[in-house]
Symmetry: C2
Subunit: 289 residues, 2 copies
């Protein structure tokens, strides 16, 4: 980490931001980044061939992430974003340590800490809810992150085993699906939380329904919104903001699995035109071998 | 208008709010109402058989609106919302006058004034943009509404002839469609507006793209968001808020045209489960004959 604002070379500033996830979920994070940082270029990699990451061991996730990081660095990424709650919760500490050792000079940001910070900043009664997958809840990463910012805040985690897959399937939300969302929200309403962290990148797609069930005065904090601010801050303090003065940046997509399936589901998650998707084969990471 | 808070009967308070539009566009307004006022019941009427309203004369629109109002009053609506910019711009003054004469005691709220108020409250540099259909721009209703709140604010209107139909068609937004959005935004960027009114109920569906093109520091004001606040205020000052303490209200749908088409496009506009849709035949309005 550099302690003061430096001015990187124009070439370095014009490089893209690399964003990755196990699948399409991270596209809700990219969506926020595209809205909040319109001048930047982005390259997104979805490791769809090995989706889902949920049940895998932290060491394995760190290895996958290392391979992806190598690919994105080959594509000249100036900053890396892990847009996956499971990978961040499990593998970010390991990955950060390795990247520091190899002194690549490229920073890696994950989704958990920015959300914890924003949730603590938003709460007025000190009661924060968390909706996440069972693996993320079990990792207790949000407890640690929230506790690090303010130890007097109480986190109320709710593990939602089926919600992400219901959203990914993308069928019309019927009353049964709404009932499962309602059941997930019930303990949060009972605990009188005033802020809820969406601890899975799929959940922003149902945020209107969550807002309706939780009530209009509960603040929802999503990975994308929170992370976009931190990315902007990181670029600006490191003198790495794109020098483009007009118009919007470019964005492109890589995935390790089927290109057609990625495009179909991805369009819904990104809520913007997707354009071309390129299939990549990841090599075993050498720098971290 | 009642000058102070009165307590209406529990029966009156439990009645639904009626919302209507020429088609599905008003569902983006209903969407906001469902999120902001989860305890209320709603009945929505889309006059899809006579869609679009765009090219019709104000007197004709006022007659259509009168017929719809009668239908919604038969269904015991306690408050009426015109969720259509064209109908509001053209017919609201006529309709309001008639409703006052017939002393129905049910208030009618439209989309233009709440947006004007919220936009004036939001702007810091006094330059507000307006994106709307040609008919709405030509009616100059937003100029009047903005001017009534603050005569020192400048409104920069941009008529978008094709945008609503591109959004309604619902095909994947391609680069050509994005270019047309970009062209509509160009005069607003040149005028350095810091606030943009989305003067058509279809436009919230592309608000991420608009936000990306206009930049993250431009405030977007949509019909639904602005109106939801005014509805909440109107209910509360008239003692008409639903007494329900837990859970969410019911909502139901009526349309004058094809039910299947309404459900298909409507689901995308509402972003929530739609449930049953009933086809209605509107009778010639008697109270206003």
């Amino acid at each position: 980490m550099m302690p003061c604002v430096t001015s990187a070379s124009p070439d370095a500033r014009s490089r893209p931001i690399g964003v990755f996830d196990s699948g399409v979920g991270g596209l809700t994070v990219l969506h926020e980044l595209l809205v909040q940082l319109p001048r930047e270029d982005f390259v997104y990699l979805g490791d769809t061939a090995r989706f889902p990451y949920g049940e895998r061991a932290p060491e394995e996730l760190a290895r996958f992430a290392s391979e992806i990081v190598e690919e994105l660095l080959r594509r000249k990424a100036k900053l890396l974003v892990v847009a996956c709650n499971a990978a961040t919760s499990a593998a970010l500490p390991i990955l950060e340590r390795r990247m520091m050792e190899t002194t690549l000079g490229v920073e890696l940001l994950g989704v958990v800490r920015p959300e914890a910070l924003q949730a603590v900043a938003a709460t007025r009664n000190g009661r924060i809810g968390l909706l996440a997958t069972p693996v993320t809840v079990a990792s207790r990463s949000y407890e640690r992150a929230v506790g690090a910012v303010d130890p007097h805040v109480t986190l109320h985690p709710v593990a939602c085993p089926t919600l992400a897959s219901i959203i990914q399937a993308g069928e019309q939300f019927d009353e049964r699906a709404v009932d499962s969302v309602r059941a997930a929200c019930e303990p949060l309403i009972a605990a009188e939380v005033d802020t809820v962290i969406l601890g899975c990148t799929h959940y922003p797609l149902i945020s209107p329904m969550l807002q309706r069930i939780l009530g209009p005065y509960v603040k929802l904090v999503s990975s994308g919104g929170a992370l976009a601010r931190q990315v902007e801050h990181a670029l600006s303090t490191r003198g790495l903001s794109n020098p483009r003065e007009h118009g919007e940046g470019r964005y492109s997509f890589l995935c390790t699995g089927d290109v057609g399936a990625f495009r179909e589901i991805g369009t819904r998650f990104l809520q913007m035109p997707l354009g071309d998707v390129e299939q990549v084969r990841l090599a075993a990471a050498e720098a971290f071998a």
